[in-house]
Symmetry: C2
Subunit: 131 residues, 2 copies
Amino acid sequence: MNQVPDVLNPACDSRTVLRHLTDRWAPLIVLALVPNALRFGELRARIGTITPKVLTETLRSMERDGLVVRTVTPSSPPRVDYELSELGRTLTTPVETLREWAESNVEAVLANRARYDCGHAATRGRTLLRT
Amino acid sequence: MNQVPDVLNPACDSRTVLRHLTDRWAPLIVLALVPNALRFGELRARIGTITPKVLTETLRSMERDGLVVRTVTPSSPPRVDYELSELGRTLTTPVETLREWAESNVEAVLANRARYDCGHAATRGRTLLRT
DNA sequence: ATCCTTGGTTACGTTGAGGTATCTGATATC
DNA sequence: GATATCAGATACCTCAACGTAACCAAGGAT
């Protein structure tokens, strides 16, 4: 359909894929699954603040996209493992790159915010550049 | 405060930074500004579907984080240019990496979705594995 | 005079992602 | 029996993000 996918083209499906990758929890799930497969409960604990409902939803949609493989072991208490698919594993680099940026630039960003908030309490509203 | 920033730690600020990077429009704005600075209207046209309100909001918060520099030229019709800051430019690689993933895997993802939707229309609801 | 343009602002309405709370089904253990 | 475990399901609610529509100020062009 589209000759060359282009995220900057609003009609291109790649934009929805990008959006999906940048869902609130998807990057964290990918990061959590990079080292090894995890069970539902482990994944939940690893991420810390996600609710079971949202975790299920996000995992389902990632499974649908073929990023994650869900394996059910029908034992006495059921056991369900989630792991990155082959395609999902190719996300490792992009997501890790993002993670590294975030982690190594938190301080800078927080400092910028503080400076901005401070400076704009004074110059209130109008963009200076007088004359 | 935090010794080692870790996105997988719910309390770590790096998580909010990551979340901010994955705002709906932020990645697209970064991508649009990589080649060169753009005026408000150009940026809007480049992205295609963003409303002025949301564009303003997103640009303001990116300016606050020190990712984008806003330059006002008080001419007759006002002129405002937006460009990536030095810090913002360091986002080029992470975001481009994500973009490339999205663009080169759209087809695969769409195919996976189709297969999933098809296979699960039949097996409806219950996880098979009968007996 | 009036219109056009640029880069917004403001007030308002909507929606869907995400959260909360409670429940289930199958075993297994106490 | 009673209770715990695991992996969710379900109903319901909230809120912040996002969208829509209208408006504005200043100067230049017509």
